[in-house]
Symmetry: C2
Subunit: 343 residues, 2 copies
Amino acid sequence: MDYSPILRLGAQTLEFPQPIGIAEWATVAGPAEGMGRYGGQYDIQLKDDLMNQDSWEKAERQMFEAAARCCLSKAGVGINEVDLLLGGDLLNQIVTAGYAARELGIPFLGLYAACATSAAALGLGSVMLHSGCANKVLTGVASHFATAERQYRNPLELGSDRPPTAQRTVTGAGAFLLQQGNLPVRVTHFTIGEVVDWNITDANDMGAAMAPAAAQTVCTHLAETGRHPKEYDRIVTGDLGSHGSNLFLELVNQSGHDLAERHLDCGERIFTQDQEVQSGGSGCACGPLVLAATLLPQLQRGALRRILLVTTGALLSPTTSLQGESIPGIAHAVTLEGGAPTC
Amino acid sequence: MDYSPILRLGAQTLEFPQPIGIAEWATVAGPAEGMGRYGGQYDIQLKDDLMNQDSWEKAERQMFEAAARCCLSKAGVGINEVDLLLGGDLLNQIVTAGYAARELGIPFLGLYAACATSAAALGLGSVMLHSGCANKVLTGVASHFATAERQYRNPLELGSDRPPTAQRTVTGAGAFLLQQGNLPVRVTHFTIGEVVDWNITDANDMGAAMAPAAAQTVCTHLAETGRHPKEYDRIVTGDLGSHGSNLFLELVNQSGHDLAERHLDCGERIFTQDQEVQSGGSGCACGPLVLAATLLPQLQRGALRRILLVTTGALLSPTTSLQGESIPGIAHAVTLEGGAPTC
């Protein structure tokens, strides 16, 4: 096969000389997500967010594993054919991905980028494929409303009030199978994020903490690829929520980009307005669920030709919050192209 | 430049067609480590494990940042010349690496493999370099006795007794600068670990939890490279401690490999016997400190020609321990060669 190095377009953006295909995907969605805007479009919709386990943490890893197995099953690929699992989650020590990797038995590299993990995994998986390290890479992420609240804020049993800027962590998991080839959905670019911190200290205002990182990554991506926003059918952010999305749009506007018409935030979209989720959804699984439910199918049939997926992570810990630290954000982005390959 | 894909030697092992150089390295060591076996061989030795900060967590990230800056300074490389930072630590949400990445301002991919992170970062960094994603990659890890005890077991203030299988988390940080070229120290192979779980549930017996993963990775590496242990001057494990090392040697023995003469465990070596550290040292920084203090200099001058560095991680969280879960282990390995290149 013709082989050439990955192209560096600037400080943060990589271009794959041969596009990497997203061969298949699968999602598991919690009960509230199933009642949301994309209900009916997830592969597995849970009626019970405990999945018959005795803790939500165990349920979360069951979701991760179920998404992975469902994805491989849909692709007709055996677990033994997968060379590498890349993934992570929001729980301490990424135990969701770690225990799921134990069950799946695939060589595993654990990533942590908070809710930005999914694009980091798709980008890094594409690097591993392009460079010959793997023929098939599985990426996966999961998050769970109950485990995330317990760990980052307060246990649900406490019944704490939630301010309007708060977001509801999505209960769900997404898995993606990457392989080489000009498939109907392809990864063409990977923009690696920098840590950006605008001194937000409110753990109930993640959107504001992440918006500057999203703006930095998007503006850098556009500058380094030399592209205009209109060359993308959608600029998709992972989980800024309505509050964070407004900030994001204002920040990119200050850099001369008007994205209002083509911006879509998965956190703003995943639930319906009558679900009372304040500023919207969040979590590792938020972007992947919306991506798999609606965006990838549109790319696959050519209804969308090119999108930029920008997942956003808040790199806080409960300890740093208690110690009065600000919340740094990071955003990783991948360009996804759909329809018949043009080259 | 002549360019070819990375070679896959089997399910877990990658071979780099052109070796990746470790151009420079730097370490920061805590007070106890400075009094240990390699005292005087660290770049920065702390007299105060708070580093004039008001929390140990802040001290830990200062160590990470100091190791990174020291490494670049020794190499005569500016921060702006570094394309990518790969790293992690033991704290929840890898905040040490995250906050340090914010200060350093380098595009950042966060990894989590517990104490196996350093070899994962060296291996992944080598992939990024080989594939053209970067010209210079900085890898970094840090750990701190006080932050790790507080998070994983009990706060030091509690004065808990420690059983003989317990290990002392190393206070320190290590940074490594990778770049292409036939330098005196080179990464030639990367074996990606699988999660292995032998049902150990004692959070004070990490060595036993990690030994099976180390044995799996080492035996797989030898099988996939078709090499005999005698082709390595040292097989170096990260932090099994004396207890875990015995188990590791027995396990590899059962697979037909007698490693007793060439095995060295960094956790067993980093402290002296009169330091009362039970089974030895542990932590993300344990392997890197010993590597940088003694092994890399020996490789550099050709006194060692080839070693296998196998860092080992226990993928538990305090929550999973409280929920009665067993402790899965993972071990990632890189082959390091020294002296004048033979090819």
